[in-house]
Symmetry: C2
Subunit: 233 residues, 2 copies
């Protein structure tokens, strides 16, 4: 039978168009179904990013982060809201090992993990952003710092990285190591890398909000429930 069909060379002009028709028909239906699924997927994207945006403290240090990546994340902060639109926050980037070492030496890691001094060599951050206040613009940055850092971190998470915000910083030492001019004040440091640790969110119990690490080195973060944080007023 095959021979019979193949024998009719011009049968290809029938079969191929039929196949082609089905191709477009299939693509159309597939495309519509897939677009809808992707639309749904994209429309819950911010929730997914926020869930993935945990505070990570152990990374695959061999995975580098580039200057361009850091700049693109800071651009997200730049385009975020600023109190009075004053935009007094400025940034220093670090993505090479020498500079990273300097910054690392000034940070205090995970106050609740008493037996842990921070990540070992090979698991340290691949990059940092130092967030500064330019006092020549103003002395008050309102809630700009948190808004900016959330934008930055969500950008990093979207690209498969993760980070951690530091406020326990030896500021005089960091000012000196990086030769930061006096008109700037260090506000926060964000560390970035390719996370290698698992972080799980769990229900808070008896008001104990301290994060903890289990014997498998999984990091547990208790979170208050929605019912607790939304007042019935």
């Amino acid at each position: 039978m095959l021979k019979s069909i193949a024998g009719y060379r011009w049968s290809y002009f029938i079969i191929l168009p039929i196949l082609f028709f089905f191709y477009f028909k299939i693509e159309s239906i597939q495309y519509r179904i897939f677009t809808f699924v992707q639309y749904l997927k994209c429309n819950v994207m911010i929730g997914d990013l926020i869930l993935r945006n945990r505070s990570y403290r152990r990374f695959d240090e061999s995975v580098k982060i580039s200057f361009e990546q850091l700049m693109s994340w800071i651009d997200l902060a730049r385009l975020s809201a600023s109190g009075r639109n004053a935009q007094p926050l400025k940034y220093i980037l670090s993505f090479d090992s020498e500079k990273n070492k300097k910054i690392f030496s000034t940070l205090g890691w995970a106050a609740y993990l008493k037996d842990w001094d921070g990540p070992v060599a090979g698991e340290r951050p691949s990059a940092y952003i130092v967030q500064l206040l330019d006092t020549s613009i103003g002395m008050n940055f309102f809630c700009d710092d948190g808004i900016a850092m959330q934008s930055i971190l969500l950008g990093a998470v979207e690209e498969g990285f993760g980070g951690c915000i530091f406020r326990t910083i030896n500021k005089p030492k960091l000012m000196e190591l990086l030769s930061i001019p006096e008109k700037f004040q260090i506000i926060n440091v964000i560390a970035f890398g390719k996370p290698i640790e698992k972080v799980v969110i769990e229900e808070i119990r008896e008001g104990d909000f301290k994060y903890w690490r289990d014997e498998k080195e999984v990091h547990h973060v208790p979170k208050r429930s929605l019912e607790e944080i939304v007042l019935k007023i």
Copy 2:
């Protein structure tokens, strides 16, 4: 010729499998191309959300926001980082007109727009979230407020809404109007609605960061350049 093919009933057992084979082959290639395009599309989603997350001050008040929507946005804040993981911030929702009126009466709008008293009736926010510090948990909320509000607003923007953060609030009046217990301190208020104004970002000139409104009521927001905010250190 068609008759000839159709005539062979069991030719369907040849043609249909061939079509089916092509279906899967096409779907596989299509799927891969489309997934990649969607992957790219999804991977620039946070940038798109952040661009759309402007401070809006005029809304279509007829578009309501539900309790469930507000709760889902606050859930994003709940799952965001908190200094020491203490999570001392709590929230009051408002989405009905009576309560909205009370909150509206305590807010100061757009300090730089001297000739504008705020949105007129019909253009006011459809909902509010009042962000509070529960002083029984602690007195310091670090940068939690900004982190939480950015998460909340990005959630709202993803669903086609927009908002504005307020710090100019008649706090004693709001405490009284909503009968907020004394252990809470008002930190910020976020207004939400379906934006009806156009907001454009432009380059800052001569350090003038004040937003302004043109004769077409387009809202202009000067932003510092990336080169200005990233120090060459």
